[in-house]
Symmetry: C2
Subunit: 724 residues, 2 copies
């Protein structure tokens, strides 16, 4: 890629970004769009615009984002979001500090080197351009100027250690502050018990759990909630809720028809068959009312049956003290370690109920099976895609889907399809990959949503690093030099290193596209806006339906963090080879910080709170990127025939030691609640009944159910006292 | 080695054993020797001979040992000893069950093979004998009879899995029973807190610890005992105790002289200089009385100073409940994981006080440094020994120790010395090695004696396996075939395998020597007996000194277990190659069980109780031996050109999975006390003051010290209540 085409691409990206910025400024001022641009504020009962005025400066959001405090982020979007901003600002800090030293030193050193033509031509394989003059590839072999670049590697490493250390400390404090908050959270009083052994003959599960924990915690045990198999009751409950919604909708349609049409109105009708497309035509209001009346007693009966007969080998146990709950979640309870296993209870909203019953060793097996599947996916994912592409040829399509034949007969469409079918398969695969990885993580038997997302995000990280970074860098070079590797496997590092500079401009363009177009779309929220307006116009009839149409998701760490980590890996690895990438990295994380700050404060609604448990994963992966960088640089200095390259060997070792110290000093607090933190005083004595009720799944909580129905899966204190 | 010399060696060993048995039967009946043969019974206030009669059957001890129950072993010698017997009987079971199947099948299969001469001659390098006919080496290459031996490997492996699984379950139950005992042990109410951060200005350590734990455990915290630097006070205390002993001795000598000599008696005197060899002559009784009077106030002053000013960053914290203490020892207390680290308190008698102050990361560093030193010692220990041997030539000795010259001039002595000096250096090294390894383990910063011994025993195991087994087996072959290895490193397994059969008879002799002579000496206790009689006759003047002369040690797991494990490794590895080794293994562990049962019940006194924590280490090392065996057998079947050798590949994988399942299911309970176990009811409410006092080191405990002196390092509840 030469300079002109690079600048063209950059300019296009920038123009798109500016256009999207103005679009945002214009659209966000329209009152009809507030639910798209300020949903978080609206749901919290705040005025969308702080000043209340539509005539304010269209770029006021920048000022607001910059002046917002961490405390505001926590109160609007939770600790996890605040931790994500610590991550962004730490990386930004690393890149800014690196730029400040590397750009003024390395660019002149590289640019003023003379007589490099030959050496350079051999390395950058014809992609030589003016940009390459500013990179390490421009230096002669064995040049003493390489010392400056070697110093650069050390500088970047030390800046990373320093800022990561500070960040880990800060995040640990954030977590501690949140956990010691005087407002009691239900999950702080509960533990999750799994692998409860089979009870003695005649003893029901609830009695077993209650008597076990009453023996160990005579003073602080409150009550227990035995996990039940809710599959059936959930199904009925969802059906019932669906009918209730449809009834509301039918009534709204009827009311509307009264206003607009004749005073009688037209009673809405629907068909009872498959998807409302076939079957007998009935009066909707009557039909749904009837259905609701039919299902309500069925639900109640199923609730009773579930609580009584579908108790499983897991339970939530509640304590009257935060400290006891925190200590209990960390302690071994049973002599046989694979029974009565405990962990701290997840938030009620993120419990993955169906996973709780999975047994100890089955979880282990599932985990290893999933790891193997992921490893195979990461390395060999191209094979099934190629197979699908080969299968979905036009001829096969014609055979299987005959109704497509008339379309496929047209010459132009055939050509396009033939060219793009493999790509389409790849795009579909990449779009589905995060969901697939989340599915796999849940299949491991992980008990909470946030944990599953962390696990999926780790898998996605390995995928991106292996395929995007290593794939693109090494891939091209690899096949041509396969024979070299066969002779000497150690040359892999050499190949990685020597193919790096030629890909520098490719990645510059990649990063630029990411931040200009990606963040532009993020800020302007064009896609959700369009979908919302279509839905509101043609589909939504009731208030609840309109709300469902604009309700935003959360920040989506599962894919966002691995993507950011990919950018970090790219920028770190090129930071010394082609220092020009550093400003792009700074722009990516700077813009990202600014735009996401706005989105976190005004748009996204967190789906869960894990009190910053994501941080150790981010930190360890930044270190992994750093080590990849250091090893690659060692190889690249070798390619440059620099005799002092072994001076880089201490760096990966130092990174490992740094990572070891960090995890020893901080990590355990991210797994468990420290007792000194849990021991902080509460504002008021918590309402234990409320704490307990928070964990009852909606399909089982009904105001009509009176207490004696809970006797099976959801014990009460007074009852168990007589058993103990 | 041919059959005759093997049988001669075996016969000699057996004769020695029989002689020692009769010696024991004769000596143990003399009343003067009861303190040597029955000290454990005497110390527990029991009659040495249960029947009370000296005329009983001299081999009654065999019946007594066989009829003793596990419960008796626990009450006489503790859980650790009982666990050691589980270890012995499990291994015995493995070998017996293996023998029962392998001997009748494999011996005939090997002996009836014909036409083996050539193949055998190349493998067993001239050590061919009739014994070799009964081994696998006698089979032809690719012989279908090898299937029987392959089946043998599977049989031995499955027997091992089955019995180890049963043993792990049994030991876990033993541990649980001991921990849930209604008799309260002091260490069950305490935790050991280390890495206490620096206290705030003006706050003394004790206040800091007390207020910290009172906040977390407002209801169950009893009091704390801050660890102090006792070096100085220990020194004075030991000096004082020494003088007290000497005074008693001088008085005894004086009393004796009154009886035997003139009625006045001769007042004993001693010299005050170095070792009592020089200096002024003084009256002993007066001198020691004066010294005691001098030191007593000094000790008291030092005690006060120690408690007030030498408090360190560690403390023992006491709770009024076993469950709280057990849970506290497993829970993370501080946000920064390297501060306020907790573990369960060791027994008072086995606390390694000087190690408690060592900080978190220093412990990590020490551990890795020690690992490196041990690895170097295991691999390169011959180098310093060779250097020492080279240095301690006769000429050097003459120069350094001139007084030896007249001896060294004699021809005969010179010859012997020159021949044996290197061996002597090796023997001295091997004798000092366990002490050196224990020293290294303590240097890791381990807080308790039993833990240090476990760590040392592990190191000793690696040493014996690497040097005795691998060294002798591979060593000889290795140098001659060094060029083969250089060409193809994978041939190491081949070499190990092909050198095995030629060493079979060597190891048969080795095991026989071990059990006949070793256990004969163990039972007859000749060495302690002789030392005791010499001491009593010439040195001991007082009752206390006589008791010190016969007081036995403990069983000495630190070296005993690794030695047993070496025998297991040898027997397992040869079990299929030369099945004749199995009866020897059975004899070793059978005799060992019998004789040690006698020793445990009557002789040895346990130095500590770790509630069976040694077991997981034994178990994992038996598995390691098994894997070594399986890998070696895979190599040896390869040497035999047996095409179906890959059928052995699943075995090491199964061993790893078995080990993984065992450690997941059982291991954590050996690290921590399960709460359901700690929650068992106590016989009576424990006397907390007594629990607390049990942990005060003897140099600091004095009846004269009244309570207010404890205010510094040893807080009281009432005092701290006012601070909290």
């Amino acid at each position: 890629m030469d300079l002109t085409s690079f600048l063209t691409s950059l300019g296009t990206d920038f123009l798109i970004f500016v256009a999207l910025m103005f679009l945002f400024a214009w659209l966000s001022r329209k009152p009809g769009n507030t639910v798209i641009y300020y949903p978080n504020r609206i749901l919290r009962g705040l005025d969308p615009w702080e000043g209340g005025s539509m005539t304010r400066n269209p770029f006021a959001w920048i000022k607001e984002a910059l002046s917002s405090t961490e405390q505001e982020v926590i109160s609007m979007s939770g600790v996890d979001t605040a931790v994500y901003f610590v991550f962004l600002s730490t990386v930004l800090g690393i890149l800014v500090l690196s730029s400040l030293v590397l750009l003024p030193i390395l660019l002149p050193v590289a640019a003023t080197e003379v007589g490099q033509k030959l050496a350079n031509a051999t390395i950058s394989n014809g992609t030589f351009s003016d940009l390459d003059k500013l990179s390490m590839g421009h230096l002669k072999l064995k040049s003493p100027r390489l010392w400056a670049f070697l110093f650069g590697v050390y500088w970047v490493s030390f800046v990373t250690y320093f800022l990561l250390w500070k960040a880990y400390k800060h995040v640990s404090d954030l977590r501690a502050t949140a956990l010691m908050s005087p407002q009691a959270k239900p999950e702080q009083f509960a533990i999750l018990v799994r692998d409860i052994p089979n009870s003695l003959e005649g003893q029901i599960r609830k009695e077993q759990v209650d008597s076990y924990f009453k023996t160990v915690y005579p003073d602080t045990f409150y009550r227990s909630l035995v996990v039940t198999d809710n599959k059936e009751v959930d199904k009925i409950w969802e059906e019932l809720e669906g009918f209730k919604k449809k009834l509301v909708r039918a009534e709204a349609v009827y009311a509307l028809s009264k206003k607009t049409g004749n005073s009688e109105g037209i009673r809405p009708t629907n068909k009872t068959g498959f998807l409302g497309l076939c079957g007998a035509k009935v009066d909707s209001i009557e039909y749904y009312t009837e259905k609701i009346n039919e299902l309500t007693p069925k639900l109640e009966a199923e609730q009773k049956a579930t609580l009584r007969e579908k108790q499983q080998n897991a339970a939530l146990v509640f304590f009257t003290s935060r400290v006891t709950a925190a200590a209990a979640a960390q302690s071994l309870h049973a002599q046989l370690v694979d029974t009565w296993t405990v962990i701290d209870a997840p938030e009620p909203r993120q419990v993955l109920w169906p996973n709780l019953k999975i047994k100890f060793f089955q979880r282990q097996v599932r985990q290893y099976v999933v790891y193997i599947i992921v490893a195979l996916t990461v390395v060999f994912y191209m094979i099934p895609i190629a197979a699908i592409s080969a299968f979905t040829t036009l001829d096969n399509l014609k055979k299987l889907l005959p109704f497509l034949k008339p379309i496929l007969k047209q010459e132009a469409i055939t050509t396009v399809l033939e060219a793009y079918l493999p790509q389409i398969a790849l795009i579909v695969f990449l779009a589905l990959l995060p969901k697939f990885l989340l599915f796999l993580s849940k299949a491991e038997g992980i008990p909470s949503q946030s944990h599953a997302i962390r696990a999926a995000s780790g898998k996605y990280f390995y995928f991106t690093i292996f395929n995007v970074f290593l794939g693109i860098t090494v891939g091209g070079t690899l096949f041509s030099t396969f024979k070299t590797i066969e002779k000497d496997p150690n040359s892999l590092v050499d190949i990685l290193a020597s193919s790096l500079p030629s890909n520098a401009t490719y990645f510059l363009t990649f990063v630029a596209l990411k931040f200009f177009v990606g963040y532009g779309l993020e800020l302007s929220r064009l896609v959700p806006l369009i979908i919302f307006h279509i839905k509101r116009k043609y589909l939504c009839k009731t208030e609840a339906e309109v709300k469902a149409a604009w309700l935003p998701s959360d920040l989506g760490y599962g894919t966002r963090v691995p993507n950011d980590l990919l950018v970090i890996t790219i920028v770190l690895c090129y930071s010394v080879i082609a220092p020009l990438i550093l400003p792009f990295g700074v722009l990516y994380f700077g813009l990202g910080w600014l735009i996401l700050r706005n989105q976190a404060l005004k748009v996204y609604i967190p789906a869960y709170e894990s009190y910053g448990r994501m941080w150790p994963h981010m930190q360890i992966r930044i270190i992994a990127s750093l080590i990849l960088y250091q090893v690659t640089m060692f190889g690249y200095f070798g390619v440059k025939r620099f005799y002092y390259a072994p001076f880089l060997i201490p760096l990966p070792i130092m990174s490992l030691i740094f990572s070891f110290i960090c995890s020893k000093k901080f990590y355990r607090f991210f797994q468990h609640t420290a007792l000194e933190v849990a021991a902080h005083e509460l504002k008021e004595i918590p309402n234990m009944e409320q704490v307990y009720r928070a964990f009852i799944p909606p399909s089982l909580s009904s105001e009509k159910i009176d207490d004696d129905q809970y006797e099976d899966a959801q014990s009460s204190v007074s009852r168990t006292a007589s058993f103990a």
